[in-house]
């Protein structure tokens, strides 16, 4: 069938491969990291206060929720609200009619879900500057993320994580 809601379908496929995602910030960073690992999501990202952020992705998720394809649960935390996302039965049904050609990503999603959103913010920020040399990337992290005070260990772990993400095919 044709291209109706092609980008929405890719996101639904992502949720189908991930059981549930907890946290909007985590969701934003996971999609970005996958995108940088050659998964062809088309949502465009810009650098924001908390690292790469896509307004298109936020809007598309809202549409998927309003259409009943994704379920969003809001939980009150100390100073903020936290959101959980899951594919609904209607979403599953829609996907049955839709041929989505995306590389397998289940294993990578599981690994990212295990990490904190602070760590994923670091990884996505490093990927944002990946056209620079390794030293320049680290320098950028120290200047644009000075308040986060990332340690050398965290930065090294992030380099390893990026390699692992790119090595893992499924």
């Amino acid at each position: 069938m044709s291209r109706m809601l092609e980008n929405h379908a890719k996101l639904m496929h992502f949720f189908a491969s991930s059981d549930e995602i907890v946290g909007r910030k985590k969701l934003q960073k996971i999609i970005y990291i996958l995108k940088k690992c050659e998964v062809p999501f088309e949502e465009r990202y810009q650098f924001h206060f908390y690292g790469p952020y896509s307004e298109e992705l936020t809007l598309r998720i809202e549409e998927l929720c309003n259409l009943g394809f994704i379920n969003e649960t809001k939980e009150e935390k100390k100073n903020y609200y936290q959101y959980r996302y899951q594919l609904t039965d209607a979403g599953n049904e829609f996907l049955k009619h839709y041929q989505v050609e995306l590389p397998a990503m289940g294993e990578r999603i599981t690994k990212m879900k295990e990490k904190s959103s602070r760590f994923l913010e670091l990884v996505s920020t490093m990927l944002y500057f990946e056209h620079l040399s390794r030293e320049e990337v680290e320098e950028k992290v120290r200047t644009v993320k000075s308040k986060q005070n990332y340690t050398v260990d965290e930065i090294n772990e992030a380099w390893g994580f990026i390699e692992e993400m790119r090595r893992t095919l499924h």
Partner: protein, 431 residues
Amino acid sequence: MAYKDEKLNEEKVFKDPVHRYVHIRDRVIWDLVGAPEFQRLRRVKQLGTSYLTFHGAEHSRFNHSLGVYEIVRRILHNFEDRPNWDPNERLLCLCAALLHDLGHGPFSHSFEKVFKLDHEDFTQEILLGDTTINAILSKVENGFPEKVADVINKTYPNKLVVSLISSQIDADRMDYLQRDAYFTGVSYGHFDMERILRVMRPMEDQVVIKESGMHAVEDYIMSRYQMYWQVYFHPVTRSAEVILSKILHRAKELHETGYKFALKPTHFLSFFKEKPNLKEYLALDEAVAMYYFQIWMNEEDPILSDLCERFVNRRLFKYIEFNPNLQMNEWMELYRLFNKAGLNPDYYLVVDSSSDLPYDFYRPGEEEERLPIHLLMPNQELKELSRQSDIVESISGKKRTDHKLYFPLDRLEEMSNRSKTKKRILEILYG
């Protein structure tokens, strides 16, 4: 005197319908305005295809860029001698404001979607590449083009500087809301900018608003909300965008399948292949694109010529509200029926979603997604706007989204009244 400090002998002013006057005193700013890469913005409309809905909306990215510069100039005038503000950042802010949209191409929304480009990349290339703009910025000081590029890319270490050009209450939005309202002729989009500028306060990481100015900001948020639904998401404009995107898809597809164009699409070839280089990108402005669309009206390919004729002569697609969840079966049936009717559904049956449009809503910054607007309370505490304002809270809660189904009703009407296919299509579309 160092180039960065040079002033013009006399202040230059541009008459402006929104801000009355745009004032220029810095030599650097004056030189940047004269650069070919900046002058090119005169040939890129600010609102893309909206002129087909609002006939006044012919204003350009050039007008808007000058407007953003002027707003930042006024903000910085108010910031003089305030704590947290470093006056050494002044010229950097003015340059970034003026140049923030430099990389926009023709009908940039559709072009970027179809050819998978990002105007922000081209902005960076113009700032840092072999261009007149780069030569001017390089004269200011070593590394200055990189600084301007960082501010526009939002990766400059001083977040206060970034937030002037790009935050949820920034000079960019304040200009385009007022300018787009003025040129479209709608009565939304107006708010008391002078008041907002007076209550803006520089803080370490961001611009905040004195609590007493909350109502002026409420007005700004409301006008933003109304402009999205009344102007930016206008269904007729979306119809024009749909047709334009399909023209670009069709031309690309034809090129890839070896179709011989009567007029070789020289300016599009690099767009069809991969990413065009900067020279190729800058050579294709809206005047050039429109020239091709007019010539392609006479192409042999019936889809390309029809779509171009529709775009040029404003024979747009009609639309109905569409719910892809509840109407999945109808969609599949329509898809089959359109094929049967000889209308390629990949070009003539299009679902368009609100998220296909590039505009954004106010977001209160839940879970640290985006920095929200903060109010500075009398006790110096910062409070997020929607927690203080009932009006803002009410429109930053559940988001309205929509999907529309676009199709050429005229082509369906041309079919014989005895056609069962026609009857069934119209039955599904209109009940």
